[in-house]
């Protein structure tokens, strides 16, 4: 096989060459290749003659979705294209890589293709490629890290071939979907790619800083397969063969060892590039690559203390439990967005409840959270199935929370950590429980480290949690934990603690928590699992980063704390009505708290909140206020509602909702701003909203209506082209769930259209939809 420690010459553009040899504009290159095998083979041959050691098969667009109307199957195209390349290869002892390009449809949440469906689609190509005799798999021109992950997983799960992966970046070092070099490097390295790099994008000159950046984050061999510069108006590219090879030499010096070309490159480019790089010594790799986790668009270096947001964990949180039971992703998304805004670096996700299918819910919540937050996730579960599901659907590099010293757990979870390239948290407990001494905990830590290393998990990617035990039970508890923490830190791993457990059962827990956090940080704590909404704790984190030398020049600290926050300077006291009218969230919350001292929660909603909202709605209808003002008032009312719900949860009461409403943007439509506005308004009126999102099939809407027994279903469509899909949904509900009324709205809808498609109501805006809801639920 290929010796990846040496320089390897790949091929240049295939499409460009096919066009030069007569492929008509707009033709499908896969089909053209099958129908003109002699032309295809001559191009492969020309690359081998120019010095390529590996050529890519003509299968870039050989995925099922792209071949749909071609009349050929994935297997047929793959088999014939690989055979053609192998024919050319045999005289040169060359290798053939199965070329795999993007599927042609975006994955969720950017598009609507589910992750596992993408893995399946790729699997057909991967299996066909191995069967056809490809020597390796080359996944290329990916702009979405999630799709690259699906392809790489699929290749690893379905073949035993080496897998190379390259993505296409803009000059600024990001792909069009916002993935950076670091995120790509950590994710693909974690998933055990055999070589990674950059293709297409720009010319080799512009690629130089990107490759220099990439080499800092991966030990893997690096691929550079750039375009021949930028395209000119006539379709040619602006770098000459000499210029191209000059910069390819620089790229090679900078650490790229697998060299080739993309759009606009020819066998001449490859030949010259090979000559130029014959004796190039490529730059050595860094000795140490910091432990980093990431989402698709944000990398978090764990070399400095970080905040792991703990709020997505149902233990002791009634509202979250309710949301999980109801499948209310909206509430969960809000928790994620808020924690990110409050300064969390990573989000812990725990969905363990006895009544729900943890595996399914883990997948659902991770997907929902990453559709609204850019933070990396920490999969928190003791169920290996739920852990694996979380790791699969997490886009980026996740943390697993957790393993412990029990053999059974280590045997089950560590292979998953390795397969998905995660960082792992190990709790210092085992079959015998939690040791009462620091030494005991350190011993377990050593065992976890040893076993992880046996699985090929590097020590720097291991985090040990020495466990916070309540100080109210044993006054030595804090000391033991901190002592263990300092010792464990010396083993060369990272450390984590769930901090607030220290003060359980004590008064003024905040005082104890923040002091313990400061002590723990001083003892070497890396991952503080806390509530980022707790200002004092966050202040401790931020000031420690400053004092500990983790905040260079105090930049972050100064940025955050120099801005004096101006809040209601005048000190004016607002009534609930005034604060909602003016859209002041904090004031509305405060006024609600005060009112709750005088009236009960239900009265507050029925006698205060709803009349205020009705009044706002009326003024909107009269044209006295406009949509943004209506929305702003809805937000303030939302803040008031939250206070009421919190109070109810605390007192053990149930929030009486005004009725259930299912909302969806219809199948085929991805414009959901209108529906989201309707949701915000209806929520404030106390309805329980089941928001199915956008591009929702009629069947899914029906299923939700049947499951929730909702008496009203709101459908939104923005485009004329998606009205038929709305009609289909309305008809399906009429037929299968006659108890449910339908209300429709959206830019292209009118009363006439609504009637024509058989909807019960038409609402021209959010305020009107509230009236419809009132009408439907008036008898409640």
């Amino acid at each position: 096989m290929l010796d990846l420690s040496k320089r390897i010459i790949l091929d240049g553009a295939l499409g460009t060459q096919l066009q030069r040899k007569g492929m008509p504009v707009g033709a499908n290159p896969c089909v053209y290749g099958i129908e003109n095998p002699e032309i295809l083979e001559s191009i492969h041959r020309a690359y081998f003659e120019a010095g390529s050691e590996v050529v890519l098969s003509n299968t870039f667009g050989a995925g099922e979705l792209k071949l749909q109307e071609s009349g050929y199957s994935v297997e047929e195209v793959t088999k014939r294209a690989v055979a053609c390349a192998k024919n050319a290869a045999k005289d040169f002892n060359g290798k053939v890589a199965l070329d795999v390009g993007p599927l042609g449809e975006l994955l969720e949440p950017l598009g609507s293709l589910p992750f596992e469906r993408a893995v399946e689609l790729f699997a057909r190509q991967m299996k066909a490629g191995e069967e056809a005799g490809a020597d390796l798999i080359f996944i290329e021109t990916m702009m979405d890290l999630y799709e690259a992950k699906a392809a790489l997983l699929s290749a690893k799960e379905n073949t035993s071939l080496p897998v190379f992966v390259t993505m296409t970046f803009e000059e600024g070092g990001k792909t069009f979907t916002g993935c950076g070099i670091r995120e790509m490097a950590y994710t693909l390295t974690g998933l055990s790619a055999d070589a990674i790099g950059i293709n297409c994008s720009v010319g080799p000159d512009k690629l130089l800083p990107l490759i220099r950046d990439l080499r800092k984050y991966t030990e893997l061999p690096i691929i550079a397969k750039p375009n021949a510069g930028l395209p000119n108006a006539d379709g040619s590219y602006d770098l000459t063969v000499d210029e191209f090879s000059f910069y390819m030499e620089k790229l090679c010096e900078s650490g790229a060892s697998l060299l080739g070309g993309c759009c606009g490159t020819t066998p001449e480019h490859i030949k010259k590039m090979k000559e130029k790089t014959e004796n190039t010594v490529f730059a050595p790799r860094p000795d140490y690559i910091p432990c980093t986790v990431c989402s698709a668009t944000k990398a978090v270096d764990l070399s400095r203390p970080v905040t792991v947001g703990e709020r997505l964990n149902p233990t002791g949180k009634k509202l979250l439990k309710q949301a999980l039971t109801d499948g209310d992703m909206n509430y969960i998304c809000r928790q994620a967005i808020e924690q990110q805004a409050q300064g969390a670096d990573v989000l812990d996700i725990n969905v363990g409840l006895p009544t729900i299918d943890e595996k399914e819910m883990m997948g659902k919540v991770v997907r929902a959270v990453q559709s609204v937050s850019s933070l990396p996730v920490q999969i928190d579960s003791s169920d290996p199935k739920a852990i694996e599901e979380g790791l699969r659907v997490a886009n980026g590099r996740a943390i697993v929370n957790s393993v412990n010293g029990k053999d059974e757990v280590l045997d089950e979870v560590l292979p998953l950590v390795k397969k998905y390239g995660a960082v792992v948290i190990g709790l210092t407990l085992d079959e015998k429980g939690i040791p009462e001494t620091a030494e005991g905990r350190v011993e377990i830590a050593k065992k976890i480290i040893k076993r992880s290393e046996e699985w090929g998990i590097s020590k720097k990617d291991i985090v040990i949690d020495c466990l916070t035990m309540t100080v109210g039970v044993n006054s030595e508890n804090a000391k033991i934990t901190l002592e263990a923490l300092s010792e464990v830190k010396k083993l060369g791993v990272k450390t984590a603690l769930g901090v607030s457990n220290i003060s359980f059962g004590l008064p003024r827990r905040d005082i104890v928590n923040r002091t313990f956090l400061a002590c723990a940080l001083r003892s070497g704590l890396d991952l503080a699992i806390i509530n980022p909404g707790d200002e004092l704790m966050m202040q401790t984190m931020e000031s420690f980063r400053l004092l500990g030398g983790f905040d260079e020049g105090g930049k972050e600290y100064i940025e955050k704390y120099s801005a004096s926050v101006v809040k209601n300077e005048s000190g004016t006291k607002y009534t609930l009505k005034a604060s909602i009218d003016s859209g002041l969230c904090e004031e509305a919350a405060k006024a609600t708290d005060e009112l709750l001292e005088k009236v009960d929660a239900q009265t507050l909603i029925s006698d205060y909140l709803i009349p205020i909202l009705d009044d706002v709605g009326l003024r909107y209808e009269k044209g006295e206020i406009y949509l943004p003002q209506l929305m702003r008032s809805a937000e303030a009312a939302g803040a008031a509602c939250d206070k009421v719900k919190q109070r109810l949860a605390k007192e053990g009461g149930e929030h009486q909702n005004s009725g259930t409403i299912v909302l969806a943007t219809v199948h085929g439509d991805i414009h959901d701003i209108g529906k989201n506005i309707v949701r915000a308004v209806l929520e404030n009126y106390g309805y329980k909203i089941v928001d199915l999102g956008r591009d929702v099939s009629p069947e899914t809407v029906l299923e939700a209506v049947l499951k929730t027994k909702a008496k009203l279903c709101g459908l939104s469509a923005l485009m004329t082209t998606t009205v038929p899909s709305m009609e289909k949904t309305v008809k399906l509900i009429k037929e299968k769930a006659p108890f449910c009324k339908t209300v429709v709205g959206g830019a292209v809808l009118s009363k006439d259209i609504a009637e024509k498609i058989g909807a019960d109501f038409y609402a021209k805006d959010a305020s009107e939809s509230a009236k419809v809801a009132k009408e439907v639920y008036k008898d409640k």
Binding site: T177, G178, C200, Y626, D672, N676, T722
Partner: protein
């Protein structure tokens, strides 16, 4: 080819409020400012365009091997022998943020949505200005799939004509909607010189 834009993309406060069906700023200037700043920070405006000859055969109109269907486009390009097809987008990041905002701050989401529409409109203007400058031509106004009787089904041909997926990351959903949402494809006729001078 990627179009070089020579000026900053502007977001019009007036358009932002207009699209949200407000008269002037209706007392929510702060939210408006927040929406504009956010859009400015998150947008990644890129556009691409190619020049094509227009072919007329058997009473039908063709460009880059595909038919431009309908009377309205026929009329729009009347007298033109050449055209440009363009695609423009301000990227995925803004879509994602509008979505998150619609959960926690719908008022800002609403205005960020219309601010983004204003931005993509201005990007289209800037793209056409650049084409006119760089190619020394005068263009007709823009015409997009879905306008008049030019069917949305021509969207894939438009994207292919400028290699929009690879050049600017612009894709289509199964139902032929552009993704990222804040994107435009369009065709502009090159106004013949004699007509221009007339």
């Amino acid at each position: 080819m990627r179009i070089k834009i020579y000026r900053e993309i502007e977001i019009s406060e007036r358009e932002m409020f207009n699209y949200a069906r407000c008269r002037d700023h209706c007392g929510v200037e702060t939210i408006g400012r927040e929406a504009i700043n956010l859009t400015r920070e998150l947008m990644n405006p890129v556009s691409v365009a190619n020049r094509f000859p227009l072919e007329r055969r058997d009473g039908k109109l063709y460009v880059n091997g595909f038919e431009l269907v309908g009377n309205s486009i026929e009329k729009h390009l009347e007298g033109c022998e050449e055209c440009f097809i363009m695609a423009a987008t301000i990227g995925f990041e803004i879509d994602k943020n509008i979505y998150s905002l619609s959960i926690v701050k719908p008022s800002v989401a609403l205005l960020a949505d219309t601010a983004a529409s204003s931005a993509v409109e201005d990007l289209c203007n800037a793209t056409c200005e650049s084409i006119e400058k760089d190619f020394g031509v005068k263009l007709t106004s823009r015409f997009s799939p879905g306008y008049g009787d030019l069917p949305l089904e021509s969207q894939p041909d438009f994207l292919r004509a400028v290699n929009a997926g690879k050049e600017i990351g612009l894709t289509l959903t199964r139902s032929l909607l552009l993704n990222p949402i804040k994107s435009v494809t369009a065709i502009m006729g090159v106004i013949p010189e004699e007509k221009e001078n007339a």
